[in-house]
Structure formats: C-alpha cells, structure tokens
Amino acid sequence: MTLGRAGPAFRRSAALLALLAGWETLSRLGWLDPFYMPPPSAVGQVMLDLAAGGELWPHLGATATAALAGLAIGLTIGIALGFAAALLPVLAELLEPVMILLNAIPRVILAPLFVIWLGIGLASKLALATILVAVLIFFSVFNGIKEVDRRLVERVRTLGGGRRVLVREVYVPSVTAWVLGNFKVAVGFAFTGAVVGEFVASSRGLGYLLQFAQSTYNAALTIALIVIIMTFVLVLFALAGRLERRLLRWRRSGAGPRGG
C-alpha cells in the first residue's frame, strides 16, 4: 500500500484535502446551502480580500498584542505567585482558595466585569488573557514545586547544597519543565482571553470582526476568521514546540554507544 507507507503527515493532509474537495463538490452540486455553508473557495476568497485589502492586519495586530502581552504577563504573575506560594506556606493558605475558585469557574465570565472596570480598549482583553494564563501557570508551578523529585533534593543536600543551590539546580529547572509542559495550553488560553474579550465589547480585533460577521449573518466571513485564528495559533504552537524541544532537550534519549 503506497498510502500506508507514506508518512502520517501526508495521510493527514490527504484527509484534509479530501474533506475540502468533498465540501466544495457538495456545494457546487447545490446540496449545501451557501448561506449556512459557503464552499471553501468562497471562504478562501474572503480571506484573500481581507488580507489584500489591508483590512485584516490592524485587527490581527490588536488580537495578537492582547494575547501575547497577556501570555507574558500571565506567565510572569503565575510563576512568581506559584514560587512564592510553594516557598511561603502563609501565602499558600491565602492564595490557594482564591486560585481554586478561579480555576473552577469558566474564567471568561469575568470578561464583562473587566469591560466595566477597564473599558472596551486593549486593557480589558489583556486582563482576561492574563488571568486565564496566570491561574493555569500558578498551579503548574505550585504543584511542580510540591511534587519535585525528592531524590534530587536529597542528592543535592548530601552533596552539601543549601537552599540557594536547591532552588537553582533543582526547583527552577523542574518548574521550567512543568511550565513548558503547559505552555501550549497557555498560548491557547491567551488567545481565548483576547478573542472572547473582543467578542464582548470592542472596536477592533479578530473577535470584533467575528462579532460583526455573526451579526450580519456572514457565514463565509465567520469561517474565514475562524480559519485565520486557527492558523495563527497553530503557528504559535509550532514556535512553542520548538522552544520546548530546545529547553527540554535533556529529556530526549539520544543515540550513541551504550553499555556498562
């Protein structure tokens, strides 16, 4: 079987292409109502127009700014609070209930509140993306430190290492691994925060465009925007994956001479 021997990436692309071709064919045959389900060619045309007309870029820029800044601030806050809570029991007792509550609810319900507090500009989107990311990262750091490998701690202690050495050699690398393990989820959360924030109230951004497309019953524009957001997030996932592989290269068992 030629198809079976080809790589999984090839098989996946083939499946996607087949789906698009089927969709297009069904539309051309008139079996799909273009009002609800415009053909891929029409969606592609909308995307081209958006890009060529220059209309897309400020919106994409606004969303990316809110998401990436929210990601950075959320990571910083999450890591700082996670470390502090793990090292200071008093702070853990104060923070944990709040964080557990924030973790239990769908945090996007805070969006209207942020709009009231911070207005319809960038700040409310930033705040939503930040809190989505910060809570996730707080728990990965907090639990990461609590579940750090005891044998490593004991090893460093028997070699004579104190608290400073333990933090540098054991806790920080261990937490880095935990955070990187959740990094892709954090990227997704940051975009969720930015887009939902725009969806609720804004004057620009991909979420704003989506809201506009929905209110005008423009299915082609809606699908085009969904595809654009997906593509953008996938590109970021790929970058995150590279960063992860680079920083966690110690996890890969490399080839080489083996034996006692």
Binding site: E154, R155, E169, G254
Partner: protein
C-alpha cells in the same frame, strides 16, 4: 593527579597504630510513628577499614545511613563523625543525577557547591569521568546514558570530592550482574589504593564478604538490634570474583548466614518495608 595516597593527599599520611573511628553510632533507635524498627544500634567504622552492614530487607539498614546523612531524625541515640561533613561521600541505590544537567555538570556540582571555580570544577569533572571510563561523555544528559554509565557518573560525582569516609547503600542493586561486578571491582581498586574508609549497607552476603574487612550483622525487626560483627580474613588487594574462591570465604558465608537467620522472631512481617 596523584594516583596513590601520597604527599598530595592530606588525609592519608601517617596512619596511627590504633585507627581512629570515623563514624561512631551509639544507642541509635529509629521509628516512623510506631515502635522503633531498629533499637539501640551501636556501630563503629574505623579509619581505613571497609565495613559492611548486612541485614534483611526492611531491617532498617537504610534508616541508619539516612540518620548519618541528616535526612532522618532518630528517636534516640547519637552519631559522631570523625571527619568534617564535607569529607563524607554518599552513594545510594536511588541516587538520581539531575536530568537537566550534563554528566560533566552533574560531576562538577559537588565541587561548585564547595566553591571550586567553574573552569576548574569542569576540568576535574572531565578527569573523573575519564577515570571511570566515560571520557567523551561529558556533554551527555543522563537520559542519553545507560544505567551503568549513570551509576559511574554518580560515583565520579562522589569521588571527585575526595571523601575520607564513603557511605554506600546498595549502590549497585539496580545494575545487571556483569556491570555490577565490573563497577564493584573498579570502586574496590580505588578504595584499596586510597585507603578510603567505607561503610557499605547491603543484603548481599557475597558482595559484603568480597569487599569488606569486617561485616556487621543487623537482626530482624521489629526492634532490630546488632547481631554480630565478623572480620573478613581475605588478603588485599582483592579481585571480587577470586575472593569467592578463597578458603575463608565459604565458612564465613555460612557463619554470617547463621547470624542472620538464627532465632527468627515470631512475626518479622510486622516490621514491613519501613526501612525505605
């Protein structure tokens, strides 16, 4: 690198006629909430001697070493070290290397903790890696090494600190027989050449006899106590495999076996695996 205990080594010269005691344990009791699993343990490790502590699994052997390392608080009893804490080296069964540090960084870690400048520490780490047959492996991460290679890195990490007293807890238990015999021999060669003082905790009688000058026997729990202490009358330097052919080996093995198994307490199961 001075390869023998020569003038370059401050610890070894002029060994006194009556060897000093590098580790003195008195009346040590250890428990985990319930009754003590070991009770009233006395143990001496004399300078230049290779002492083995044998006992069944779960008898609390490991707990004794954990008290010595300061990782465990005893119920009662004292531990006196005849050397400064930085001169004690530890090699345990589940020693983990830092997975995010290379072999070189792992070996250099103890030196860096002792404020050796980074370049110097790296050079000494490379030296010890090549001594243990791992020349050229300095940039590998632990995940890229075999179990035997990782154990050699752990040994290099400890020996690079030039300890005067080496405490080991079944350090090679996880290795296969061939690798284990080879590494034991290498370590024994080093110990004999440097007149290193060693306390080895093990449940393997043959390993204990093959390597040691004397063997202390810990009884069954609960409330395990010291049973006997036997000298090993096999000349050095030793070959781990040939030592087993020595006429003294068989009878001593029998004696130790009897020491270990006589007067079985009624319910040894009560002690459980609390030793870990």
């Amino acid at each position: 690198m001075p390869s023998t205990a020569g003038p370059g080594r401050p610890a070894a010269p002029a060994r006194p006629a009556v060897p000093e005691t590098l580790l003195r344990v008195r009346g040590l009791s250890v428990g985990f909430g319930g009754p003590p699993i070991i009770d009233g343990i006395d143990l001496d490790v004399r300078a230049g001697q290779f002492t083995s502590l044998i006992g069944p699994s779960g008898s609390g052997k490991t707990s004794i070493l954990r008290v010595v390392t300061g990782l465990l608080e005893p119920l009662r009893g004292t531990v006196e070290l005849g050397v400064a804490p930085p001169d004690v080296g530890f090699l345990f069964q589940d020693d983990a290397l830092l997975p995010w540090r290379t072999a070189r960084q792992n070996v250099a870690l103890g030196l860096r903790i002792r404020d050796v400048p980074p370049a110097d520490a790296d050079a000494r780490a490379d030296h010890w890696l090549s001594r243990l047959g791992l020349a050229g492996y300095g940039d590998r991460f632990p995940a890229q090494l075999s179990g035997g290679q990782r154990k050699r890195v752990a040994i290099a990490q400890v020996l690079a600190l030039r300890p005067r007293l080496l405490l080991m807890d079944e350090p090679f238990a996880a290795l296969d027989a061939i690798v284990r015999t080879r590494i034991t021999q290498e370590l024994l060669d080093w110990v004999e050449r440097e007149h290193l003082t060693v306390l080895l905790v093990t449940h393997d009688l043959e390993e204990a006899i093959g390597a040691s000058d004397n063997v202390a026997v810990l009884g069954h729990g609960p409330r395990a106590a010291m049973r006997a202490r036997r000298a090993v009358d096999i000349p050095r330097p030793r070959d781990v495999l040939e030592a087993r052919q020595h006429p003294a080996f068989g009878p001593l093995l029998r004696t130790l076996w009897n020491d270990l198994t006589e007067e079985e307490p009624p319910s040894p199961a009560a002690a459980g695996e609390a030793g870990r």
